[in-house]
């Protein structure tokens, strides 16, 4: 690495290109803050997916000024996809090679500002569409795909497999909430920056969409609200139902692309119907059931045909830096995993009684939000045999407890169903993420609810959780829905 700046950098410093702000930009983005000491702003004018004009401003070291200037030259007039493909490496090359030690962050800073301007462009174009829910137009065809990119190994390999299969791939990372790693500072490890680097190393364009309002409205509010109502929510289900696939479809439509793809382990069967993946241990059909069929029709799950171990190997062989990232298991917006604490911060605790099935008072509890059906820990009542929560009664603030066998149900009521196949194809139902399907028969709806009569008892069926029906071969999802009040 050189100790001093190259002449190219000094040239951009003294004669910077494209300085200023656009009078009527279609997007503006800023990166950096007082703690960094550098700040960059890009404004872009995008028409028909072409970057007609770009202007930038920088307060910062010579490297930041030169990098901003060089980047503006690299992207001006380009097709939006090619502009979104320009990488730190490209800027470095335009500046004649590597920057002095400690100055490489300039490349990240200016690229981030440009990408935030793109993000602003998309969010302006989306208006309320994304918050209200976007069904997708899908007026395009061809081997084009928008691949969701979280920064993890699965989504990186997804994009790679699609690229190798001959698709035109554009990647997208969603900003969902403020608890993301490093989301407050431009210079610390950041999920979005990492995903962008990963995409750029594969030569793929990368975009960011800000879905914080949508995620807040459709996922986080519902998550907290469910506990308030004594139900057990599944935020991943809510996100798949309302957020991810809609947003990816929105971007695909905006770019004139046909398909959307994610790194989920599932397949799309004839129908189209959601189907189980090759790697049964990674099966995510249980949380993917709410994808509208219209969106599923244009969805690709490349990992559905791979084992997780194969995916890791592919990432290693291709030198993707994501290969060793740990599995994310927790709810993404509660990084410490303590979801009780998270709910408690939003909801006032309502103390009440702990009772048995006969209504006998066994003790007191600090709030119904702390309990969910099937729970064993934290009941706070001593008993000769383990006690389980069998019911949460919201109105009376009572938590009903009983023995393990009291959790058994023979009947599950399901509402809000999303159908892929005809109801008569349903042969079994799964009621927990890692549970096994139980053979069942389903009955015609009454009041919008379907009833599944189970061939054998199921344990701890909590209202609010998902119930997913599978076909006779056990592979295809017939429908999914939400468990309503407890069956008898």
């Amino acid at each position: 690495m050189p100790e001093t700046y190259r002449p190219e950098v000094i040239d951009h410093l003294v004669r910077p290109r494209n300085v200023g702000d656009l009078a009527e930009p279609s997007g503006v983005g800023e990166s950096g803050d007082a703690a960094c000491g550098d700040i960059a702003r890009f404004s872009v004018g995008i028409e028909d997916n072409t970057l007609r004009d770009v202007r930038y401003k920088v307060y910062g070291c010579a490297a930041c000024i030169a990098a901003g200037s060089a980047l503006s030259e690299l992207v001006r007039g380009k097709n939006l996809l090619d502009a979104a493909r320009v990488s730190k490496e490209d800027i470095r090359d335009a500046l004649g090679g590597s920057l002095p030690a400690g100055k490489e962050h300039a490349l990240t800073l200016v690229l981030d500002a440009l990408h935030k301007a793109f993000e602003d462009h998309w969010n302006r174009a989306a208006g309320d569409m994304l918050v209200e829910g976007y069904g997708g137009a899908d007026t395009n065809s061809g081997k084009t795909v928008v691949a969701a990119m979280s920064g993890g190994v699965d989504s990186a390999v997804t994009a790679l497999l699609l690229k190798e299969a001959g698709y035109d791939v554009a990647t997208v990372t969603f900003r969902l909430h403020d608890g993301e790693r490093g989301s407050r500072s431009c210079c610390s490890p950041d999920t979005v920056l990492f995903a962008r680097d990963t995409a750029h190393r594969m030569g793929l364009p990368h975009f960011t969409l800000n879905l914080k309002d949508l995620f807040q409205k459709r996922v986080m509010r519902d998550f907290v609200g469910s506990y308030e109502k004594g139900r057990t929510p599944n935020p991943c289900v809510a996100c798949n139902a309302h957020v991810k696939f809609h947003a990816a479809a929105f971007l695909a439509d905006g770019l004139g692309f046909h398909h959307v793809a994610t790194g989920h382990y599932a397949r799309v069967a004839e129908g189209p119907a959601l189907a189980r993946p090759k790697d049964a241990t990674k099966d995510q059909t249980y949380v993917l059931w709410p994808i509208p069929q219209k969106l599923l029709a244009r969805t690709i799950f490349p990992l559905g045909d791979y084992e997780k171990t194969e995916v890791r190997r592919i990432a290693e062989e291709c030198g993707l830096a994501v290969a060793y990232t740990p599995e994310s298991q927790d709810i993404c917006f509660i990084p410490d995993g303590n979801y009780r604490k998270f709910v408690r911060k939003k909801v006032a605790a309502e103390p009440g009684e702990v009772v048995d099935a006969t209504g006998k008072v066994l003790g007191n509890h600090a709030g119904v939000v702390d309990f969910t059906v099937g729970q064993r820990r934290g009941i706070g009542v001593s008993a000769p045999a383990p006690l389980y929560v069998t019911e949460v009664r919201l109105r009376s603030k009572q938590v009903v407890v009983g023995r393990r066998k009291d959790l058994e149900v023979r009947e599950v009521r399901v509402r809000d169903l999303n159908w892929f196949l005809a109801p008569e194809e349903a042969r079994s139902v799964q009621v927990r993420y890692n549970g096994s399907p139980v053979p069942c028969e389903i009955e015609e709806p009454e009041d919008g609810e379907w009833v599944a009569r189970l061939a054998e008892p199921a344990m701890g069926v909590a209202p609010g959780q998902s119930a997913v029906f599978y076909s006779e071969d056990g592979e295809r999802v017939v429908a999914g829905g939400v468990v309503a009040r407890r069956g008898s």
């Binding site: 702003r41 401003k57 307060y59 070291c61 930041c64 400690g102």
Partner: protein
């Protein structure tokens, strides 16, 4: 790139005076002796060193026996703090009083002691960078082993009330160290008037060579060595002497003594012209004390313009100035100068500074040319800045 380059960064280092070079050359060329040797060559080297010692002593009003040569100002400061700490080991005194605006040579030595169990009272400064003598006196305790306040600040150029501080310390029996690296050769120094226990200076800030400095140690003050070996410099600083460097420092000290008045007069004129020309631009203001400042130092805040880009822009126009802040850019971002933060500036203000320090050989014409270049740089960089409101 302009061919004619104008050097305005004398606080960083000064050019080597040709008369100093001439005095050094005989000691770099031909036969040379080790000052510790008994033969004629050794004696000649020894004699040259003692002559230099007298010149340095004269510059600060000391006796030659009170001057100890080191490998620079940084080492002299380290020797003062760490040497005093070692000497104080048996006394049980484990407290230091240090100003918040010290050069890293003092600040980091104090941090090192803090890390090994010493207690340090950091004395703040006002918006002009001045230590309040009352705050300083109030921080002194019965277990204070050393107090240290620099003579003049290397960034903003503020000259501290060292006489008052040294007198308070003398009265309270607390050893007082002052870093006079920037002051030596620009301020009249007399250790009779300013009763410091130790005082550090450096060769390359007064037109002497780099890599040589000196520590004045008042007679009767005892320091422990931090470098061990051959026992040179009365055991306080082992290692074969840098004869040519010491001769250079001695010559530079002698010239500084002789020319001090003329240099100060000349530099003050250039400085005031610089200040008047720069602060006339909107959003440009002077940092440091308006009067109690070094004769050659101009330190400016320039709204909306980051230091490094300013320095490199001026460099491209042929003018060499300092960023005036320890702007150690890294992957974690800038580090704002602790001096400016201590003076109450916020991060952006502390990043938006430039230091212009004149020398004895700068001309009025050069200053005029600089003012034009400065105006161009400020205008262009402000057009670039998303922060600028001016």
């Amino acid at each position: 790139m302009t061919e004619h380059r104008v050097y305005l960064d004398h606080a960083a280092t000064t050019p080597l005076d040709e008369r100093v070079l001439a005095a050094m050359l005989p000691h770099l060329e031909g036969r040379r002796g080790n000052p510790s040797s008994l033969h004629a060559s050794g004696a000649a080297a020894r004699e040259a060193i003692e002559e230099a010692r007298e010149s340095v002593a004269s510059l600060v009003g000391a006796s030659p026996e009170e001057i100890f040569f080191t490998a620079g100002g940084n080492e002299a400061d380290n020797l003062a703090l760490l040497g005093m700490a070692r000497a104080a080991e048996s006394s049980g005194k484990r407290h230091l009083v240090v100003s918040a605006v010290e050069h890293a040579a003092v600040r980091e030595a104090a941090h090192h002691l803090e890390g090994s169990g010493w207690e340090v009272s950091w004395i703040g400064v006002d918006a002009d960078g001045l230590v309040d003598p009352e705050d300083f006196a109030a921080a002194l305790r019965s277990d204070t082993a050393l107090a240290a306040v620099m003579w003049a600040n290397n960034e903003v150029g503020t000259v501290q009330p060292v006489e008052e501080l040294a007198v308070v310390c003398a009265e309270r029996g607390v050893p007082f160290h002052t870093d006079a690296v920037q002051a030596a050769g620009r301020v009249s120094i007399d250790v009779e008037r300013v009763p410091a226990s130790t005082l550090a200076l450096s060769g390359h800030k007064l037109y002497g060579p780099q890599g040589v400095g000196a520590l004045y140690v008042r007679e009767g003050v005892s320091l422990g060595p931090v470098v061990f070996g051959g026992g040179q410099e009365k055991g306080l600083r082992s290692g074969t002497e840098n004869v040519a460097g010491i001769v250079g420092l001695g010559t530079a000290a002698r010239l500084a003594c002789e020319e001090l008045e003329e240099r100060v007069r000349h530099e003050t004129g250039l400085r005031d012209r610089l200040i008047a020309g720069t602060v006339a631009l909107p959003g440009v203001s002077l940092n440091g004390h308006p009067e109690k400042r070094l004769s050659n130092s101009v330190h400016l805040s320039v709204e909306g313009v980051e230091a490094e880009s300013m320095v490199l822009f001026l460099d491209a126009l042929g003018y060499e100035v300092g960023s005036g802040s320890a702007c150690a850019s890294s992957s974690a971002g800038h580090k704002a100068s602790p001096v400016l933060l201590a003076m109450g500036q916020d991060d952006y203000e502390a990043f938006s500074v430039v230091r212009i320090t004149t020398g004895k050989d700068n001309t009025v014409g050069e200053i005029k040319g600089f003012l034009d270049a400065f105006s161009t740089a400020v205008t262009q960089l402000r057009e670039l800045s998303p922060l600028s409101t001016t």
